[in-house]
Structure formats: structure tokens, C-alpha cells
């Protein structure tokens, strides 16, 4: 592990997260995956929005950007388009990504832009003290759902696949080996990749719902997660109340910045070859 410490801003540690908060485990998994792939840390940009989860890049010694709530993907899209040679990673929360940032999320997926998005899903707004999010399971308590959440929650993986993401996986802070593996594969996919990392917020989700300590929450993930390979052989009734983990989608398709660069060079060639006479004008509409 000392070998991965070089990716941290060690003078910022210990981090601000509560004892037992899963965000640190997810951050560790990302850093290990980056280390395994031996990425040049000067060619990696990590972007986040707002939330406890979005504090993660502040501890990482890459080029990092802590942006506005929900807007990490908008900033990341700008970075990737202007500097396609950089590895762009977004670290976001369930609230940041699927509530205020939901629109950016589906459109980044639709474009298949080469960004790896790690969604730290603790099923709650942690930072602002436990309001329910679009990923809070129905029936669970939050400070804004004192009698239980009546809304249905997103299945983020299905949402990502439907919107056009080309790599989608789900792991948990309990399944740390799997999580690192999924992040590594997501980083290798040239296109929009999403890894949903289910993590624990013992301070709000745990306490509000009387789930217990961080250890109890990890046991909850251990019991509720079913690997997608094992799930294929199980009858549907055995999957009730469970969620799938593992690689859920991997289908490469043409990537946005590459397509955009190809278009630029095609248009440039056309005008470079322009010989005069009636000009076929690409942009003048008035």
C-alpha cells in the first residue's frame, strides 16, 4: 500500500469523513486501480461536485477539481473535449449524480464520452444531514421522510445502460476486491463508464434507520448483494430484496471525443481543399 500513498495528498489526511464512512474505502479502491494500471498522475484529472463523497478528490494528488453541486460531469465534459489525451474521472454521490445532476448524467452517457464515473451511493444526502435522495429505497427513513420514503428509487445501473453508458458495474464497500476490479475495467473502457459503489453512511442512513454500526451496514451489503453470475442461476423469488453486483454491462461503442475529432478533421480537409468559386458555407445562416 505504501506504493499507492504517492497518489494521496498526505498532508490532508486524516480525512474529514466520519469513522466507518464507506467513502474512504471507495477512494482507496480507485487509487489502487489507478496504481495497478500505472497511470501517470500528471495525466489524470479527478472532478467532483458537492457532497461528502465529492470531498474525495481533495485528498488525491492528481489534477483535481471540486465543482458545483451536480455539475461534475459538465466540467469533466469540458476538460475531456479540450484535452482528450487526459484520463478524466468523476467522483460523485447518489444525490449529486442522480438528483441535481441527473440531466448531466444521462447526457454524458448518451454521448458516450470517455469519462469514468464513480458514484458513491450511500442512499442518502450525507453532507446535509440525511435527506432522502432518488436512491433511497422505498420505505426507508430520512430527515425529510420521517414516516418512510414513499418514492421509488432509481436503479442506477439500468438508468446508465438505458442512457447509453458502455461500461456499467456495481460493487460495495464490503466487496472491496470486486470494486477495485470493476474500477480498473471501467478505466480501461474507452467511453462512458459507470461504477456504482454502494457505501455506508453510518451517521445518517445507519442511525436514522437503526441499522447499527458501520460493521452492521457492511453485513447488510454482504447479505443483500448477489453477484450477477450467481444470479443467473437463481429463481426470481430468491432475488427479492437483493441487488446485483459485478460487471453489468460492457459493450464498447464509438466514443464522443474521437468522433468529434474525426468530424473536425473532415471539415478542415474540406475547407483546406477549397478552390474558390461559390463557397459552400457551413455556418453562415443569415
Amino acid at each position: 500500500m505504501s506504493d499507492i500513498l504517492k497518489y494521496f495528498r498526505q498532508n490532508r489526511l486524516p480525512h474529514i469523513w466520519c469513522p466507518g464512512c464507506g467513502h474512504g474505502t471507495v477512494t482507496g479502491a480507485l487509487v489502487r486501480a489507478v496504481g495497478k494500471l500505472k497511470l501517470d498522475k500528471n495525466k489524470v484529472v479527478v472532478v467532483s461536485g458537492i457532497g461528502c463523497s465529492s470531498r474525495a478528490p481533495g485528498y488525491l494528488d492528481f489534477d483535481t477539481l471540486h465543482t458545483a453541486h451536480g455539475r461534475a460531469l459538465a466540467f469533466a465534459t469540458g476538460i475531456k473535449l479540450s484535452r482528450p489525451e487526459l484520463k478524466v474521472i468523476v467522483m460523485t454521490g447518489d444525490g449529486d449524480c442522480t438528483a441535481i445532476g441527473g440531466n448531466h448524467f444521462i447526457h454524458a452517457a448518451r454521448r458516450n464520452i470517455d469519462i469514468t464515473t464513480i458514484v458513491m451511493n450511500n442512499n442518502i444526502y450525507g453532507m446535509t444531514s440525511g435527506q432522502y435522495s432518488p436512491m433511497t429505497p422505498k420505505g426507508m427513513l430520512g430527515t425529510t421522510a420521517p414516516y418512510g420514503n414513499v418514492e421509488r428509487s432509481f436503479d442506477l445501473a439500468k438508468l446508465a445502460v438505458a442512457a447509453g453508458a458502455t461500461y456499467v458495474g456495481r460493487g460495495t464497500a464490503y466487496h472491496a476486491v470486486l470494486l477495485e476490479d470493476l474500477i480498473e475495467k471501467a478505466l480501461l473502457n474507452k467511453g462512458f463508464s459507470v461504477v456504482e459503489a454502494v457505501t455506508q453512511c453510518p451517521t445518517y442512513l445507519g442511525r436514522k434507520n437503526k441499522i447499527g454500526t458501520a460493521v452492521d451496514m457492511l453485513n447488510w451489503f454482504k447479505e443483500s448483494a448477489v453477484n450477477v453470475k450467481a444470479a443467473a442461476a437463481l429463481p426470481p423469488e430468491r432475488l427479492a430484496g437483493k441487488f446485483l453486483i459485478g460487471e453489468l454491462h460492457n459493450q464498447p461503442e464509438p466514443e464522443f471525443t474521437a468522433e468529434y475529432a474525426a468530424l473536425v478533421s473532415q471539415v478542415r480537409r474540406k475547407y483546406d481543399n477549397f478552390q474558390g468559386e461559390v463557397r459552400e458555407c457551413g455556418q453562415n445562416s443569415d
Binding site: M1, S2, Q10, P19, H23, V215
Partner: protein
């Protein structure tokens, strides 16, 4: 030479450890305990080197190494206090 069982040692960064008990609870060999709110390797000889404690620790506070790997002291900043004291003054 007979096959020797591998032995492991634990690098513990006390200033980073928050005593959340995750590593202790999920160690398959009950190697670890909490002592004064910080992790402590009580039975290091039982350790099988699975590194699950290291991978799950949310605070990067524990690391497992093969004994005699010659890596020497862990070179990290966990013992450095970066806080600026309120009474600090600048001349």
C-alpha cells in the same frame, strides 16, 4: 530446506485510524483488536496475509506486509502533525 509458512506484519498509522472496527470485525483470523480506540495487531502470527483489512479500511490506516520483505519503515506522513496551532505566529 523445508517449506516455511509465510509471516506477516502490520503497518499501523495511528493518527489516521478512527477505530471504526471494520478491519477487526471482518478479519477471518481474529488477528486484530482495538486498543484505546485504535487498531492493534494482537495475534500477528495468525495472519494469512489476505489484506482484506487493508482493502476495507476507510482511512488507509493499516497495511499488511510479508515479514522480512525488506521494505523497511513505512514512509508516510501519518506521524506528521500538519495542523497550524492557533497560537502560531509569523515573524
Amino acid at each position: 530446506m523445508s517449506e516455511q509458512k509465510k509471516a506477516y506484519e502490520h503497518v499501523i498509522r495511528e493518527r489516521w485510524c478512527k477505530g471504526c472496527n471494520i478491519c477487526v470485525a471482518f478479519c477471518p483470523k481474529q488477528v486484530l483488536t482495538l486498543r484505546n480506540g485504535k487498531v492493534f495487531a494482537e495475534r500477528p502470527d495468525q495472519c494469512i496475509g489476505c489484506r482484506l483489512c487493508e482493502l476495507r479500511c476507510p482511512d488507509f490506516a493499516i497495511e499488511v506486509r510479508e515479514r522480512g520483505s525488506g521494505e523497511g519503515e513505512s514512509r508516510d506522513a501519518s506521524n506528521v502533525d500538519y495542523e497550524i496551532k492557533p497560537e502560531a505566529h509569523h515573524d
